[in-house]
């Protein structure tokens, strides 16, 4: 017997399985047939002689990490980054000559807010190292461009998408977003489609070098 006002749609109950493919169908009891356990506990961090050597050399600046990473990982204090990076490059037993990737991760609830993650490789020794640097919103990160030229575009990307500032960078401009874009899209508090973030040609002045792109409108 149904009440006259009831709609044909059933209200969602927490324990009820939803349509297949819906991502939040997690309310279902975990089925025994699944070999990969969804709630697997985190694994301890990797140990490596490189980490031991770095912690021993820079006891104040370098610390171990607790989270699971796929490469050996250390956390370096922002102020010691140039020193530690120079050591990574010059020390013959480390010889990290290849800076393959620089990423930025935003943790808005944490202080410092951002993590810069550098992935170093040594082509000679074939070993790898992940370096994490905590950066607050007001901090300025020393650029690694003078040691690894490949850091140039990577750092511009972090600057563009996360709004982290670098010092000593030869050409710190936005790279993927337009020059006059408002906000930094990869920040977690960036609201998509909230307002018009692209003011168009506003601010374009050929006499002053266009939008600041080198060469445009100047000789």
């Amino acid at each position: 017997m149904t009440e006259p006002d009831s709609t044909p749609r059933k209200p969602d109950t927490p324990g009820e399985p939803r349509t297949p493919g819906t991502p939040d169908a997690a309310g279902k009891p975990a089925e025994a047939r699944t070999p990969a356990r969804p709630e697997a506990p985190p694994r301890p961090a990797i140990q490596s002689p490189i980490i031991d050597a770095l912690v021993q050399r820079f006891p104040a600046a370098v610390s171990r990490v607790e989270e699971e990473t796929s490469w050996p990982c250390v956390r370096v204090a922002l102020t010691s980054l140039p020193e530690v990076a120079g050591f990574l490059r010059k020390e013959p037993s480390l010889d990290f000559d290849y800076l393959t990737c620089v990423s930025g991760v935003d943790y808005p609830e944490r202080a410092p807010r951002f993590d810069l993650v550098y992935h170093f490789v040594s082509l000679k020794h074939k070993h790898t190292l992940q370096v994490k640097v905590g950066v607050a919103e007001t901090d300025v990160v020393p650029s690694l461009t003078s040691t690894w030229k490949g850091a140039d575009w990577n750092e511009r990307e972090v600057f563009d998408l996360l709004g982290v500032n670098f010092s000593g960078h030869p050409d710190l401009r936005r790279i993927l977003m337009p020059e006059q874009w408002k906000g930094h899209p990869l920040r977690k508090d960036y609201v998509l489609a909230d307002e018009d973030k692209f003011p168009g040609d506003e601010g374009f002045d050929p006499e002053k070098g266009g939008w600041g792109v080198p060469g445009v409108g100047s000789k």
């Binding site: 699944t34 985190p42 935003d106 082509l123 030229k149 575009w153 990577n154 060469g215």
Partner: protein, 367 residues
């Protein structure tokens, strides 16, 4: 006679230029025919794939990776899946590993064929373009038999692949491989000793070994500069250690060397596919996976030797069904950063050759 005063001139190449292969803008400062400086301007195709991934589940991100380097979607799928699998307790069946190697190498062939055709076309040789597209068609037909798609595959999945390799696929692929080496000989006949081609590429776009490493260039750009570095050998993944193949390197680090490296890579890719087809074991093509995928809390960086170089995915998981952060280390993006170095002092016409020799895809540069 008073001394002639020359001034440098700023011109734009692109973003709507046929030889920028998409929407790349190069700002050039030139003095006469000589390039003083190059300012690459990227981002016209930025779709925010890294941001999109944060609001999708892990498996919903796989189709997004197809749109990175759309010449070799399979490689992108594989790189992303390998990164997430590091945070899952999953054992990939051997058959799936072999199929993954087969499709990744097919992607390499398809990508290099497009590159060869368009590179030769940029330099004025139209014939190789037609030939290369003919061979690529066979690869795409085979992939279509395998997974139903020709460019956006969404085929490599967590724990294995989406569908099994069927006999018609294997048959089609073997038929293609039986003629492919002869086809590469044909391209070589057209180009390798062609005076116009060698004049346009030899000594053009020089990148020294040290510069290539410092820029973290990868793939044929790095190997063309004489660095023997291939992740399939130097940081092996999947079942590559079981495959027998050689890594070509160049000597001069010019556009011609990168061309030679890619030609050898095509032959080697065909060789790897043959070995993988011969050794293709029976068994499951995928492991049993939970319907809701929640990798454990942690971070993973995986890198593969994609056709254009080191394709890396840095995935941060916070234990929920959506990735917290996905960073894509795109080989084209990093390789393109070398272009100001390669073009310094070159002729304007050589920029086309240099850009072509890097082999960029803007879908991957801009993400």
């Amino acid at each position: 006679m008073p001394e002639l005063k020359t001034d440098s001139l700023f011109i734009n190449m692109g973003p709507q230029h046929p030889s920028t292969h998409g929407v790349l803008r190069l700002g050039l400062t030139i003095e006469g025919e000589r390039v003083v400086n190059v300012f690459p301007d990227v981002g016209f195709l930025h779709r925010g794939i890294e941001k999109l991934a944060e609001s999708r589940t892990y498996i919903q991100t796989i189709p997004l990776t197809d749109r990175l380097d759309y010449m070799s979607g399979m490689s992108n799928n594989l790189a992303y899946v390998l990164a997430v699998e590091k945070l899952l307790d999953v054992e990939v069946p051997r058959r799936a590993e072999f199929i993954r190697v087969i499709v990744a190498e097919m992607s390499r062939l398809a990508s290099h064929l497009i590159w060869l055709g368009s590179f030769a076309n940029d330099l004025g040789a139209t014939t190789p373009l037609i030939y290369c597209f003919r061979e690529r068609e066979d690869i795409l037909d085979a992939l279509e038999i395998l997974c139903g798609a020709r460019m956006t595959f969404n085929y490599v999945r967590f724990g294995g692949v989406a569908r099994d390799a069927t006999p018609p696929f294997v048959e089609k692929l073997r038929k293609f491989l039986s003629i492919f080496d002869r086809r590469v000989d044909e391209y070589e006949e057209l180009l390798t000793k062609n005076a116009i081609f060698t004049n346009r590429t030899r000594g053009v776009g020089l990148l020294t070994r040290e510069e290539a490493i410092s820029y973290a260039a990868s793939g044929p750009v790095l190997r063309g500069s004489g660095v023997k570095w291939d992740l399939r050998k130097d940081a092996p993944y999947s079942v590559y250690p079981e495959m027998d193949f050689v890594i070509p390197t160049g000597e001069a680090g010019d556009a011609y060397d990168r061309y030679l490296v890619r030609l050898v890579e095509m032959r080697q890719a065909a060789r790897i596919i043959r070995q993988a087809l011969d050794g293709l074991p029976e068994g499951d093509f995928t492991a049993k996976m939970p319907r809701v995928l929640k990798p454990r809390k942690g971070e993973a960086y995986s890198r593969i030797e994609a056709p254009k170089g080191e394709l890396g995915f840095y995935v941060v998981s916070d234990g929920t069904a959506n990735p917290y952060r996905v960073k894509i280390r795109a080989p084209s993006f990093i390789n393109l950063a070398t272009i100001p170095t390669m073009c310094k002092g070159a002729l304007v016409a050589d920029i086309v050759a240099v850009l072509g020799s890097i082999d960029i895809v803007l879908g991957e540069v801009d993400r």
